[in-house]
C-alpha cells in the first residue's frame, strides 16, 4: 500500500533572502515576511490564505506574530520540530504535510529565519539548547567542537581517509562559484585554501565549517491537487522521517559504540526508504546538510550511498558535481558555499533543482534527498520529486 505521504502534498513556491552575517537590511521578522511573500508570489498564491506554519531549530519567530504583515485571515496550525540544531529541517515538511492531509490546515509555510541582530549567533543558540556543566567544564561550547570529536573518531578509529572531506568541500565551492546567489559566487577555490585556513577545533579548519549568514527561507506547501492549479510546477513530497533510535541521542557522548561516529540517520534513512519504496540508487541528487564536512560524509554513509570502507570510492569531486556526477550533492553550493541560514537554503535548492531552475542543473533529475542536520540528537530526512509517483 502506498504510504499516505507519498506524492500527496507539494511545494508550490519558495522564497530565499540571504545576506552577509550582520548585514541584513531588515530586521529578522521583516526578512522572513519578505521570503514568505516571495514564495507566495512565484506560486501565484494570496498570502492571506496561508493558514499554517512549521519551523525547526528553535526559530524565534512565533507564527502568530507574522499574521499582521502577511494579512492572514486565520491561523490554524503552528508547530516546530524539537531540537536546537538543523536536525529537524526535513521533519518540518512531514509535520506540514500531516496538517494538510489531516485537514487541520491547507496552506502551510515551512520557514527558518536568522538575522544576527534579532536572534544572535546561531551557533550559540544551538549550544544553549544543549550546554550543561559537563560540557562547559571540558571547554566544549560549540557545535564545531562537538562535531570535531566525532570526526576524529571517524578518521582515526574507523579509518575513513581524512582527505575525502576535501572532495565534498571542492564540489560545494564548484557549485557555489556558479550560483549568483551564493557567497562563493565567482570565487575560485582549491584544496590548498582549505588546508591553509586557520584551525578552529581539530581536525576542523575554517573551510571545513559552515559559516552563518543573515536571511530567511520559506517554502509554501499545499495538497498535490491544489499545487497543480498554481503557477509553478509542483515539487512533491514523497516521504519524510524524523527521530532517532536507542543508543543515540543527547547522551553526553555515551552513544552506542557503532553509532558514535555516524550522523545519527540510520533509523531515519531506513524508515524513509521503507515508506517510499525507494533506495539510494533511486536518488538523483542530494541536498546534504553539512554543518561540518566530516558530518556530511557521515550522513552520506548513514543514508546508504556508501560505507565507511567504500566512502573514498564515492566521495570524489567528479562524482559529486552536477556536470555528470554519479551523485550530485549540494548543487547550490550548500551550507558551505551557498550560505548558511540554518540549512533552509538546501530545501529551497531541492525544489529549484527539481524544477530545472538550479544554477547547476542535473540533467533528468527526478528525485532529490534532503538530509537534515547531521549529528543532532534527533535528525530527519525527506525525499522530493517532480512527479507524484
Amino acid at each position: 500500500m502506498t504510504h499516505p505521504l507519498y506524492g500527496t502534498t507539494a511545494i508550490a513556491g519558495v522564497g530565499l533572502r540571504q545576506y552577509r552575517r550582520g548585514a541584513s537590511p531588515l530586521p529578522e521578522r521583516s526578512t522572513l515576511v519578505e521570503a514568505i511573500l516571495a514564495a507566495c508570489a512565484e506560486a501565484g498564491f494570496d498570502p492571506a490564505g496561508i493558514d499554517g506554519f512549521v519551523s525547526y531549530g528553535d526559530d524565534k519567530n512565533e507564527p502568530v506574530r507574522l499574521m499582521p504583515a502577511l494579512g492572514l485571515r486565520e491561523l490554524r496550525w503552528s508547530a516546530s520540530v524539537w531540537g536546537g540544531g538543523g536536525g529537524g529541517i526535513a521533519g518540518a515538511f512531514g509535520i506540514a504535510a500531516a496538517a494538510i492531509l489531516s485537514g487541520q490546515a491547507s496552506a502551510v509555510v515551512i520557514f527558518r529565519a536568522l538575522v544576527e541582530g534579532g536572534s544572535g549567533r546561531m551557533s550559540a543558540a544551538v549550544m544553549a539548547h544543549h550546554l550543561n556543566d559537563h560540557m562547559l567544564a571540558a571547554g566544549l561550547v560549540s557545535p564545531a567542537q562537538v562535531c570535531a570529536i566525532r570526526a576524529n573518531r571517524l578518521f582515526e578509529h574507523h579509518g575513513v581517509p581524512r582527505g575525502i572531506v576535501e572532495e565534498l568541500v571542492r564540489a560545494s565551492y564548484h557549485h557555489g562559484s556558479r550560483n549568483p546567489e551564493a557567497v562563493a559566487y565567482g570565487q575560485p577555490f582549491d584544496a590548498d585554501m582549505l588546508r591553509h585556513s586557520r584551525l578552529i577545533a581539530e581536525p576542523f579548519r575554517l573551510f571545513d565549517c559552515s559559516r552563518e549568514n543573515d536571511g530567511a527561507g520559506a517554502l509554501l506547501m499545499v495538497s498535490a491537487e491544489r499545487a497543480r492549479d498554481l503557477a509553478k510546477p509542483p515539487v512533491y513530497l514523497l516521504g519524510c522521517a524524523q527521530g532517532t533510535e536507542a543508543g543515540w541521542g543527547d547522551l553526553l557522548d555515551n552513544d552506542d559504540d557503532d553509532l558514535y561516529a555516524t550522523a545519527g540517520f540510520r533509523p531515519v534513512a531506513r524508515n524513509l526508504y521503507a515508506a517510499t519504496g525507494l533506495s539510494p540508487a533511486d536518488i538523483d541528487v542530494v541536498q546534504l546538510y553539512e554543518n561540518f564536512d566530516a558530518q556530511g560524509v557521515m550522513s552520506l554513509i548513514d543514508h546508504g550511498f556508501c560505507t565507511a570502507d567504500s566512502a573514498a570510492d564515492l566521495i570524489r569531486f567528479e562524482n559529486l558535481i552536477a556536470d555528470g556526477g554519479r551523485l550530485p550533492v549540494n548543487t547550490s553550493g550548500g551550507n558551505l558555499a551557498q550560505g548558511f541560514i540554518h540549512g533552509i537554503g538546501l530545501a529551497v535548492e531541492a525544489v529549484r533543482q527539481l524544477r530545472g531552475e538550479s544554477a547547476n542543473p542535473v540533467a533528468g533529475a527526478r528525485t532529490c534527498l534532503l538530509a537534515g542536520g547531521p549529528g543532532s540528537p534527533t535528525v530527519s530526512s525527506a525525499i522530493f520529486a517532480n512527479s507524484p509517483g
Binding site: H134, R198, E202, D253
Partner: protein, 133 residues
C-alpha cells in the same frame, strides 16, 4: 543550563570532595550515564553511586584553537577529550594536559586529577586527564 541540582548532583558533589562517583543501577547493575531517575533496562529507580579510580581510556578528542565564547578561562589551544572510565565504560567529557601538543591517540590510557574550569564567574570541578606513563 543543567548541572548542579540535577540527577547528576552526586557526581558534582563527588568531584567537589575529591572523588569520581558514578551511578550504577541497583536492579541490574548496569552503569548508567547520563544519570537518570530510572533504569530503562530493568525499571529500577534505585541508583547506587560508586567511587571509581580516575583511570580511563581515550575515546576521542579535539584541540580547540578558536576563541569561542565561554572558554575565556582556558588558554588556547586547549584539548578536550571523551574518556571511557575503566571498569564501567561510562564516557566522560574532560580536559587533557597537553603542554607539548602531542596528538592524543584513541585507546591511550589516561589518569585523572580533579581541577576546575572557570566559566564566567563560576568554577566548575573538572577532571584533567594526563597520559599515563
Amino acid at each position: 543550563m543543567n548541572g548542579m541540582g540535577g540527577e547528576d548532583e552526586p557526581y558534582w558533589q563527588g568531584l567537589a570532595s575529591g572523588v569520581l562517583r558514578l551511578p550504577r543501577c541497583g536492579g541490574c547493575a548496569r552503569w548508567t550515564w547520563p544519570a537518570a531517575h530510572r533504569c530503562g533496562q530493568c525499571g529500577s529507580t534505585t541508583m547506587d553511586w560508586q567511587d571509581l579510580p580516575m583511570r580511563a581510556t581515550l575515546y576521542s578528542w579535539t584541540r580547540t584553537w578558536h576563541r569561542f565564547g565561554l572558554t575565556e578561562g582556558l588558554d588556547l589551544p586547549f584539548t578536550s577529550v571523551v574518556a571511557a572510565v575503566d571498569g564501567c565504560g561510562i564516557r566522560l567529557y574532560g580536559r587533557l594536559d597537553d603542554p607539548d601538543r602531542i596528538d592524543p591517540r584513541i585507546g591511550e590510557p589516561l589518569s585523572g586529577r580533579i581541577g576546575e574550569t572557570r566559566v564566567s564567574d563560576r568554577a566548575i570541578p573538572t577532571i584533567i586527564w594526563s597520559r599515563s606513563a
